[in-house]
């Protein structure tokens, strides 16, 4: 009898060992799907509340916070991205005698791909993290509850203006990134590597079509929705984290928001590109 019970225990342990990873994966998958669904509902609610009264001044304030205050870092990163592109492409194209196409390559790669993606990542690092931390602190210090008790909808007051401001700011900052990147390519490719100035400008003008610019802006809007939703969502529900509480929860939520935003930017970039091409 004892031998039988020992055998049963061993079988149970073996079963748990084998099924354990699957069960954990299943739990994670269910949680991920639930969180994704909640984030989509959160986004829909926030986007509907953009058009409620008394939102204009808050949106303007957030455009300043997310957009205007991110412009220096966008200019800096855009300039050096363009300069690196100018250097790399210039030295590579010389080998094939195609240095005249430098302007086309710099402009197209920036406007179609690098501009929207790098601008979104830089805004996430600067403004997205701040959004999560700010809303997270407001959540754990009961400021969000205070809004609810004053009959002020917290999603309308905190999330909708940020979502609207991101949708306005991302394309503008992307355009700024593209522009300064093309200037950076000119500085390194023409002024340092000796490519022809007129050819560079001509290739930029002739190779860029309206479609390229529109596609870049579409990506920027998609990234704006992704970044603002993820960052606001992480901050708004910082108090519900299972792994931590209080200030630590806000810190972890901020980290999660930045990492998740960056991953989703690249993922959505691939998906949007596959639809646009």
């Amino acid at each position: 009898m004892r031998r039988w019970s020992r055998k049963g225990e061993a079988e149970r342990r073996l079963g748990a060992f084998v099924s354990g990873p699957f069960a954990a994966f299943g739990r994670s998958a269910i949680r991920w799907i639930a969180d994704s669904g909640a984030a989509v509902i959160f986004f829909l609610l926030a986007s509907l509340k953009i058009f409620r009264p008394k939102q204009f001044s808050k949106i303007v304030q957030q455009v300043y916070s997310i957009g205007a205050r991110s412009s220096p870092i966008i200019l800096l990163v855009g300039l050096f991205t363009g300069m690196v592109l100018g250097l790399q492409m210039s030295s590579a194209l010389v080998r094939f005698g195609a240095q005249g196409y430098l302007g086309s390559i710099v402009a197209l790669s920036l406007v179609r791909e690098l501009g929207p993606v790098l601008a979104a990542i830089m805004i996430t690092a600067r403004a997205g993290s701040a959004i999560t931390a700010e809303i997270g602190i407001q959540r754990i210090s009961e400021q969000v509850d205070a809004l609810a008790t004053m009959r002020i909808d917290p999603v309308r007051y905190l999330v909708s203006p940020r979502l609207a401001a991101a949708i306005i700011s991302f394309p503008v900052l992307t355009a700024l990134f593209d522009l300064i990147g093309i200037v950076g390519g000119y500085v390194s490719g023409v002024m340092i590597m000796g490519a022809n100035s007129g050819t560079y400008v001509f290739r930029v003008q002739s190779s860029l079509e309206l479609e390229d610019i529109v596609h870049g802006f579409i990506k920027a809007v998609v990234f704006a929705v992704v970044v603002s939703t993820v960052c606001c969502f992480q901050g708004y529900f910082a108090h519900m984290r299972a792994d931590s509480h209080g200030a630590k929860a806000v810190g972890l939520s901020t980290t999660s928001a930045v990492v998740l935003s960056c991953v989703l930017i690249l993922l959505s970039d691939y998906i949007v590109t596959s639809f646009l091409i």
């Binding site: 008394k54 210090s141 009961e142 400021q143 509850d145 205070a146 008790t149 009959r151 002020i152 007051y157």
Partner: protein
């Protein structure tokens, strides 16, 4: 029987495996000040959050004017909740907004008032809560006490019909604590809202309360008046009430009402059958004018001055005193009959007119408002009690014999 404004029927709430509320039954009546007391972590704040709608019960029903909230339409619930204001335990002020912006926030976001009207209302509340100098500062630049007053001003700025106060006086010094309680009582009387307080400030908070609810072991173990609580025989009385009462009122060496009774009982036990005792009931009438002219802190200072003076005079002959109400003090002279007590009171009257009044007005004289003028009357009544007579009936008799013993006009400059 009056329908309660808010009623809980068998309300239970769990967080994970922990039961916080279990079959809670309570009634809160309109226009009253109801205080909820209980040990730390007993679920008082959770109870308040059910009233404001921040939490929903796992079981049971919450009724508003006899109607279950769960059967109300969304618009009706919004209307009900729109009349309720909440003052958080940790204030929940917006740290990126100034004091003025914090107080204006509910008006700006939920009304269509123009900016001038919002500013007028906000400045009125700022003046009433003595926050004039802090209006343009941020909450992080203020002391804990000032932050509390900002939260109070924000809770009252929308003129709500029901105000929930979650430990409104925590972290306050005794003087400011009484000033805040006085302010709540004053606003409650003036605006007529229903106040629901969670507080540890026993017995001070009882002076402004019509009803008291005691939360004990996840249930409401008592609900009734303070007098009924004193007669209530239950272990919670020692555990909850006794643990929270200080030895003496920090304000003026006064005893709490309960300790006052115990002390009186001890004296009665040691007294032979025929020895009488006397009770003097003092009242400071016109305290509202001090509040109006010089603020709550000055009013509390005036009461404190009178209490100190009574203690000095009657303490010397073995007397002891308790604050009975916001503006009322009771002194017991355990070894004096009616004639002796009246004689002592005459001396007291001469003394208070010569030296006591300036002390009573110490707070008002130091107040910053100049040019105002207030008139205050000090009333006193004496009654003799027998050893076997209930002290409450002797106090009532003394109160019925009250007459004016001093009257004073004081202007903002301190002239008397």
């Amino acid at each position: 029987m009056e329908t309660p404004l808010i009623e809980f029927r068998n309300v239970s709430k769990r967080f994970g495996d922990r039961n916080v509320l279990e079959n809670v039954d309570l009634r809160i009546y309109e226009g009253q000040v109801t205080t909820i007391v209980g040990l730390s972590g007993s679920g008082k704040s959770v109870l308040l959050k059910h009233i404001i709608g921040l939490l929903k019960p796992d079981e049971g029903t919450i009724l508003f004017r006899g109607r279950p909230v769960s059967t109300m339409k969304r618009e009706e619930i919004e209307t009900v909740l729109g009349r309720i204001s909440y003052m958080f335990q940790d204030n929940a002020l917006f740290d990126s907004l100034t004091v003025q912006e914090n107080i204006a926030l509910p008006l700006r976001e939920t009304t269509n008032l123009d900016m001038a009207e919002i500013d007028r209302r906000v400045m009125a509340r700022i003046e009433q809560t003595e926050l004039g100098e802090a209006a343009r500062r941020y909450p992080s630049e203020l002391s804990g006490g000032m932050q509390k007053r900002v939260a109070l001003a924000r809770a009252l700025v929308t003129d709500p019909r029901i105000v929930l106060f979650d430990e409104p006086t925590s972290g306050q010094d005794p003087l400011r604590r009484n000033a805040i309680l006085g302010m709540i009582a004053q606003y409650q009387r003036r605006l007529g809202f229903t106040a629901i307080l969670v507080s540890h400030e026993i017995p001070d908070v009882f002076f402004i309360s019509n009803r008291i609810l005691v939360l004990y072991e996840r249930r409401i173990a008592f609900q009734g008046s303070y007098r009924e609580l004193e007669d209530f025989d239950h272990p919670l009385k020692d555990e909850v009430i006794g643990s929270m009462e200080g030895l003496q009122d920090e304000m003026a060496d006064l005893y709490s009402r309960r300790q006052f009774k115990v002390l009186h009982h001890a004296h009665s036990q040691g007294r032979t059958g025929w020895e009488p005792y006397s009770v003097v009931v003092f009242a400071l009438k016109g305290i509202g004018s001090i509040v109006a002219s010089f603020g709550d802190a000055a009013a509390q200072e005036a009461i404190r001055g009178m209490a100190l003076f009574a203690m000095k005079r009657f303490g010397a002959v073995g007397g002891f005193s308790a604050r009975r109400n916001v503006d009322e003090l009771v002194s017991v002279l355990p070894f004096a009959g009616q004639a002796e007590a009246e004689s002592l009171l005459k001396g007291f009257v001469l003394d208070i007119q010569a030296r006591g009044i300036p002390e009573i007005f110490a707070g008002a004289r130091g107040a910053k408002v100049a040019g105002g003028s207030v008139e205050v009357t000090v009333l006193a009544g004496v009654a003799q009690g027998e050893a076997d007579e209930e002290i409450d009936s002797v106090i009532d008799a003394a109160r019925s014999r009250q007459m004016e013993i001093a009257r004073l006009r004081c202007d903002g400059g301190g002239n008397q």
